[in-house]
């Protein structure tokens, strides 16, 4: 995940986890609409509902884009749910592009 120049906000012990799929959105119901076993959620949304959305989808990692800093309570919630939290300065489109170019896909059909 270091391709994103990301800061780790929580989840050192979860970092070894290998992921193959990701999705990016700022609208949570769009994320919830398609279960394709995505593992990573990229979002500009830094409120607790981004963590809960990841929880309901069984996602293992959230990347906050555009350098947004979530409140401590949001990181605590991720901790409680066992979800790894990263923050990158890249905007959404670039962050998705970087992950895609390193082999992450949208999930589902491979």
């Amino acid at each position: 995940m270091e391709y994103l120049d990301a800061d780790l906000l929580y989840g050192e012990e979860l970092l070894d986890h290998e992921v193959h799929t990701a999705c990016g959105s700022d609208m949570m119901s769009d994320v919830l609409a398609f279960v394709k076993d995505q593992a990573v959620l990229l979002t500009g949304l830094i409120n607790p509902q981004s963590i809960r959305t990841a929880e309901m989808m069984d996602m293992t990692c959230i990347v906050f884009v555009r350098g947004k800093e979530p409140a401590p309570a949001v990181v605590e919630l991720a901790e409680e749910k066992g979800i790894c939290v990263l923050r990158t300065q890249h905007p959404m489109f670039a962050a998705c592009g970087i992950l895609y170019s390193h082999g992450l896909r949208g999930g589902g059909h491979i």
């Binding site: 609208m27 919830l32 609409a33 509902q49 981004s50 809960r52 309901m56 069984d58």
Partner: protein, 137 residues
């Protein structure tokens, strides 16, 4: 097993607590991951709707080995045209709700998609009741 939750209408950050707890309970009980996920997502969307559109409400969950029943009751403004509200992308959510990541108009369609049976009763000025069933084959 029956579970009951009050969903506070004034605290958006807590929306999803009921779904989170139901999810955990179902995992403990050993339900398959896809069934747990269907229940969690359907309930989560319902919970969010009660908080952003209806000022909160109540959730009743009945977990049976072969069928999970969800009942969401609120005393909000009601839905004028349920079939319109069920359409993909239809939303009355104001901008401040959109900035919170909701208001894509996909919540009710998602609930329909992830549940095996769904029924909405709504009366303008009185409130809304949503019943969903998810089967564990």
């Amino acid at each position: 097993m029956k579970l009951h939750f009050d969903v506070p209408g004034d605290d958006f950050t807590r929306a999803g607590e009921a779904s989170g707890q139901v999810k955990q309970k179902m995992k403990q009980l050993g339900f398959p991951a896809d069934v747990v996920r269907k229940v969690s997502i359907a309930l989560y969307e319902g919970e969010i709707n009660m908080v952003i559109h209806a000022g909160g409400g109540e959730v009743d969950v009945d977990i049976d080995p072969h069928c999970i029943s969800l009942l969401l009751t609120d005393h909000g403004p009601g839905i004028e045209d349920v079939s319109l509200a069920m359409q993909d992308g239809w939303s009355t959510a104001p901008d401040h709700v959109r900035n919170l990541g909701f208001g894509a108009g996909m919540g009710l369609p998602n609930m329909k998609k992830y549940s095996d049976e769904m029924e909405i009763e709504s009366t303008v000025g009185v409130g809304t009741t949503v019943r969903m069933k998810i089967f564990n084959p």
